[in-house]
């Protein structure tokens, strides 16, 4: 028989192994992508797959020669940040009114908003494409920003709503009694109290926008094309070039990975510092 102490350390060990397993499984594709991006095309195809090889930077040089990385990256940045900022400007007031001035129909409205995410996007591709064509927004950053805002808004409102729900409404009422205007109440009391949650909402919106491919591919050509469109351009015409595809993917993922890594610490801190009560 194991003692209680032994059993506890065994559980800890097993949980640790499990956690590492999951983490490795999630990380492996990224690791392999990174590895492949430094191989020659021949090494990239080799069977069995090679873990050790002579690294080369030729893929990166080639990608740089063939396409203007920074043009695509800048589009990604503008569109992700633009849609996130507009999204937050809409989501915060919407979530505020739903969380603190709830009516009979609030829950239904929230569910309905979320249900639009269950529709396959391709179902509305033609109408949206035609609308964009008529409005001359095809291949514009503005058009893509609007689309990203719209597709992420339900999730942003839902998240902000959940975080706001945790804030006791008396604190906002106290601010109202203290003489704040609606704007001061939101800016000086509500936002500081929910900054951790809102930061994760912002981060999620950035990641979703950055990684969005369906609308990027269908609504942009060259002018407004973000990094996801750049990746796709390497997978098509002359067949697959694994090493170059990996290089361009690495370049596309790097900014958001680094950004996520930096803000992760901020997020955890925000979440624990913002704790109410």
């Amino acid at each position: 028989m194991l003692t209680l102490k032994q059993r506890r350390s065994l559980t800890t060990a097993l949980m640790g192994i499990l956690a590492w397993g999951v983490a490795l499984a999630i990380f492996f594709p990224i690791f392999w992508m990174l590895l492949t991006s430094f191989k020659t095309e021949i090494d990239a195809f080799a069977t069995p797959p090679q873990l050790f090889f002579t690294p080369t930077l030729e893929n990166y040089t080639l990608v740089n020669e063939r396409s203007d990385y920074f043009h695509f990256a800048w589009n990604s940045v503008v569109v992700s940040f633009g849609s996130t900022i507009i999204g937050m400007l809409l989501a915060v007031p919407a979530a505020y009114s739903m969380a603190f001035f709830e009516t009979k129909r609030t829950k239904a409205t929230l569910l309905w908003m979320l249900s639009t995410k269950m529709l396959p996007p391709v179902g509305v591709l033609v109408p949206i494409y035609l609308l964009f064509k008529d409005l001359q927004m095809l291949d514009t950053r503005l058009g893509l920003t609007i689309i990203f805002t719209l597709i992420n808004l339900p999730i942003m409102i839902w998240m902000a709503y959940t975080y706001f729900k945790e804030i006791p409404k008396e604190v906002l009422e106290a601010a109202r009694m203290d003489g704040s205007t609606l704007f001061q109440e939101i800016w000086r009391v509500l936002l500081p109290m929910s900054k951790g949650g809102l930061a994760s909402t912002v981060l999620l919106s950035l990641i979703l926008s950055w990684n969005e491919a369906f609308w990027s591919l269908n609504l942009t050509a060259s002018q407004a094309a973000p990094l996801t469109a750049l990746i796709a351009s390497y997978s098509s015409p002359e067949g697959l070039f694994w090493a170059k595809l990996s290089a361009v993917s690495t370049l596309a993922c790097a900014p958001i990975l680094i950004f996520g890594w930096i803000s992760q610490k901020q997020l955890v801190r925000g979440l624990s510092f913002g704790a109410v009560k």
Binding site: E173, A175, M177, D178, G179, M193, K277
Partner: protein, 367 residues
């Protein structure tokens, strides 16, 4: 000046009418307590005054100015919430100065007002702490401090002590009474605790199911309750009620017969009563005395006795199986099930008609 008048105030949530026509006047410097059972609409009334709830109909005036539709910020009222509702991301100092900053007061004014409030409430050593680093009582003090720095016309309190433990509650109750005296402020205080109501108020407003049952000083309500609800709500332990029928009555007095056969003559104006109509006798524990069975008004069987040291409360079952609460001295001893005689102070008893309204007591004629 702070003179608050409420006229025919009604408030519904959906189809449910919560406040059913409230009329009330609160004068400058008064300490008014709204008391009533949980769910009777006390908080809703207070929040309507504060402007946090929109009223369905009716009017609220503060010194001749109608404030019914005014935003909370413009009403010149301060509120202390049951949950304290401090700003968790601000220090104690910031919590107190927030309203003054919003009002664009000068730095010196803000500092001196905050310092003054901190001195009154003994918060000086805590000014730079965050609310989560404070105990319940300290948070309560900050919440009060936040309201006093603004020097509002009226202070509103919604059950401010109910989250504190019993000892602290008593201490804070005394401090609130002192604060009311020192600030010469007008205060409206909501509680379901009748001890707080009795000890703090100049004026008690008893609410029940969205209506005012009675308004008056604590002693008026205690000694001359307008109806059975008020009589039963105030007083600890509760007033006992015994059903009875009228034997004879006129404006000189009323004779009633209790269910167990005893008859009593009460100095109560019974002009509105009829022979044989149903009435209820109300008697407080301190107005019943244990006496020798042979010379008592009626007898009962002792059910349970609770000795509190200074007093012993005896719960006595009458022969018709009603329970009476009797206050006896702390040294009173008696056995369970023992028959005891009971005498009533008839001029302190209350009589309620079949609508539960109190019948007027006869003026005692000076001998």
């Amino acid at each position: 000046m702070a003179d608050l008048t409420i006229k025919n105030l009604k408030k519904s949530f959906g189809d449910l009418e919560i406040l059913k026509g409230i009329n009330l006047n609160i004068k400058d410097h008064e300490f008014v307590v709204f008391v009533g059972p949980s769910g009777c609409g006390k908080s809703t009334l207070l929040r309507s005054i504060a402007g946090l709830e929109e009223v369905t109909s009716g009017h609220i005036y503060l010194d001749d100015r109608e404030i019914t539709e005014l935003a909370p910020a413009k009403r010149d009222l301060a509120m202390v919430f049951q949950s304290y509702a401090l700003y968790p991301h601000m220090s104690v100092r910031k919590n107190m100065s927030f309203a003054l900053e919003l009002a664009k007061e000068s730095k010196e004014t803000i500092n001196s007002k905050v310092a003054e409030a901190a001195r009154i409430l003994e918060l000086e050593p805590l000014l730079d702490r965050k609310p989560k680093e404070l105990s319940g009582g300290q948070r309560q003090r900050v919440a009060i401090g936040r309201s006093i720095v603004r020097q509002p016309k009226v202070f509103l309190f919604d059950e401010p002590l109910s989250n504190l433990d019993a000892a602290l509650r008593v201490q804070m109750r005394l401090e609130l009474a002192r604060l009311h005296h020192d600030l010469k402020a007008t205060m409206i205080y909501v509680t379901h605790d009748q001890v707080e109501a009795m000890t703090l108020a100049n004026k008690v407003v008893v609410l029940n199911q969205g209506q005012i049952e009675q308004v008056g000083s604590p002693m008026e309500l205690y000694h001359s309750p307008a109806n059975r609800f008020v009589a039963g709500f105030l007083g600890m332990p509760k007033m006992s009620f015994l059903p009875a029928t009228v034997v004879s009555s006129d404006h000189q007095g009323t004779r009633i017969q209790l269910a167990d056969g005893a008859t009593l003559a009460l100095p109560v104006n019974g002009a509105t009563l009829h022979k044989n109509s149903q009435v209820t006798l109300g008697v407080r524990p301190e107005n019943i005395h244990v006496s020798d069975p042979s010379e008592s008004d009626f007898t009962g069987r002792l059910d349970i006795a609770e000795n509190l040291g200074s007093d012993t409360y005896c719960y006595v079952k009458t022969s018709s199986n009603e329970t009476l609460t009797v206050r006896t001295p702390g040294n009173f001893t008696c056995n369970f099930g023992q028959q005891i005689g009971l005498s009533l102070e008839l001029d302190q008893c209350h009589l309620f008609d079949d609508q539960d309204q109190a019948l007027p007591r006869l003026e005692r004629i000076a001998a």
